[in-house]
Amino acid sequence: MDMIYKAKSGHPGGALSAADIVTALYFDILRLDPGNPRWPERDRFLLSKGHACPVLYACLAMRGYFGFEHLDTLRQFGSILQGHPIRKTPGIDMTTGSLGHGLSIGLGMALDGKLRKKDYRVYVMLGDGETNEGHIWEAAMAAAKYKTDNLIAIVDRNRLQMDGCCDEVMPMGNIAAKFRAFGWKTFEIDGHNVAEILRTIEKARKVRGKPSCIVARTVKGKGVSYMEDRFEWHGKCPDIDQLTCAMKEIWGEDS
């Protein structure tokens, strides 16, 4: 929130809905070496819904990929933290943010891992609105064909996209059922229940012979009362009063 306020632009809603999952990945799941960002054995993470990058940048700073002072430079000229993630930033595996491509890129990484006989896994976080893109389903069929069980997609099912409610803008129906129909193993969870997130990813890691998709029910703007479930907060910057209020709600009165 602070980063977006300082940048005067950004996407708070989708960053907050994804925050619990991205945090769980970076602090409990991903095999990483922050001192060696291109370590060949590392797990890969692609934030396909790249507009949620403030939460990713915060996690990378906390894991020591770069200093916290960079967080204040988000979206600014000369910053290592671009408006959407790019591969040059330490800890970022690949440029993402143009919606629909992350699953394809993850598929390529998963195929590369298979061919190199590496045991790393590739995690791709998708937005639910992003699944409107046909590209996602091209990747879904190819991943099933190549049995990339080292590929795990996580859909941030916050049910809102930029112009409104997903069901109004473009109803996707049962996203898990769609992935199942494409030959994926699927799970449906509460995307804010950290124990359930960890437990389910552990299950997905044990799946063999097919890729996995975890559809995580989330709340856009989670943790900030005036943002929760409001599509207006997809790409809007808070003012100082809103920021103060949000910080109090997230951290408690002492913040």
């Binding site: 690949m94 440029t95 143009s98 394809s104 390529g108 195929l111 590369d112 091209e138 190819a142």
Partner: protein
């Protein structure tokens, strides 16, 4: 005149390129090939037959193919992505731009059916804007072989050049003019005919029309210099300038839209560096149609006669 005689080609450039790719599989054991369900047309299957574990048929889904190729190349592996030019450079354009060119990855494009060389297939399968789209992308390099040996040699150049490389290939065999000993480099060119009166710069299939145009011009006492700019981006500035200092006139002919093709690039270059009488031949803001390749060359202004006429016009000799 070059010492090599021209002979009818037995294979199209798409096949020659793929044949070399299959051979190169033994030289470089790391690169892989992605195909979009036209492997028997691009001849990429020749590689897949020998290296099935390194051949990925991604189905009729070029966008996913190119983004997945970027993912596969992210840790340094080289990927050749194969399809027709019209699909690679249009449907998959954003994947090429944002996920291959922007991160500067080793994805190479085997792009068949360039220009209107798939003449009989009609406009849906012709790639007459591919050079514009690809040369515009930062980090992308663009090569266009004209015949069998140049295709084979430029495959090696493609694999050995870091970063993205786009190679435009043709549907049908035309003629062969290069030999095994001819060398090809990124940014290179070949002066096929030496002349003193006008430079004809071209690439790919139009090389052969340009050579014949030079013969027509010779009958009128005009000595044309013909340059095969097989490396369209970067192009060989040194050879071009050396030629223009001698001839003082330039005709650019290409199987492509005039707009934003090599002609536009060279006219811009000449305006800034070496102003000469100039003309460029290509598609005049139009689509073509189904028909035989020679008929299309004739109707759309790219035959040897059109090139010769253009040269005479800028020399004031028509």
């Amino acid at each position: 005149m070059r010492p090599h005689a021209m002979t009818p080609a037995t294979v199209p450039t798409r096949k020659a390129f793929s044949e070399r790719m299959a051979e190169y599989g033994a030289i470089d054991g790391d690169f892989v090939v992605f195909e979009a369900d036209i492997g028997y047309s691009t001849f990429s299957h020749l590689f897949g037959d020998q290296y099935p574990e390194r051949y990925f048929n991604m189905g009729i889904a070029e966008g996913n193919m190119v983004s997945a190729a970027a993912g596969m190349a992210a840790d340094g592996r080289t990927v050749v992505a194969s399809s027709y030019g019209v699909f690679l450079t249009m449907r998959a354009l954003e994947s090429v731009r944002t996920f291959v060119c922007y991160p500067d990855l080793n994805v190479k494009f085997l792009s068949s059916h360039g220009g209107f060389t798939p003449a009989i297939d009609g406009v849906t399968h012709q790639a007459t804007e591919d050079i514009a789209n690809m040369t515009t992308l930062p980090n992308m390099k663009v090569l266009v072989p004209a015949d069998t040996w140049s295709s084979r040699k430029l495959f090696d150049v493609t694999l050995q050049t870091p970063g993205p490389v786009f190679v435009r290939l043709m549907r049908d065999p035309i003629l062969d003019l290069y030999e095994a000993g001819d060398s090809f480099v990124m940014g290179g060119s070949h002066v096929l005919i030496e002349g003193t009166d006008v430079t004809i710069a071209t690439y790919g299939d139009i090389v052969f029309e340009a050579i014949e145009a030079a013969t027509i011009l010779a009958k009128d006492g005009i000595r044309a210099e013909v340059i095969d700019l097989y490396s369209v981006k970067p192009f060989d500035r040194e050879t071009l300038v050396r030629s223009l200092r001698k001839t003082g006139a330039l005709v650019v002919a290409e199987n492509h839209q005039k707009r934003n093709g090599l002609g536009y690039e060279l006219s811009n270059f000449c305006l800034k560096n070496h102003v000469v009488p100039f003309d460029n031949l290509g598609l005049e803001d139009t689509f073509t149609e189904s028909g035989s390749y020679p008929k299309l060359l004739d109707k759309y202004g790219l035959s040897k006669h059109h090139i010769a006429e253009s040269a005479k016009r800028i020399l004031g000799r028509n």
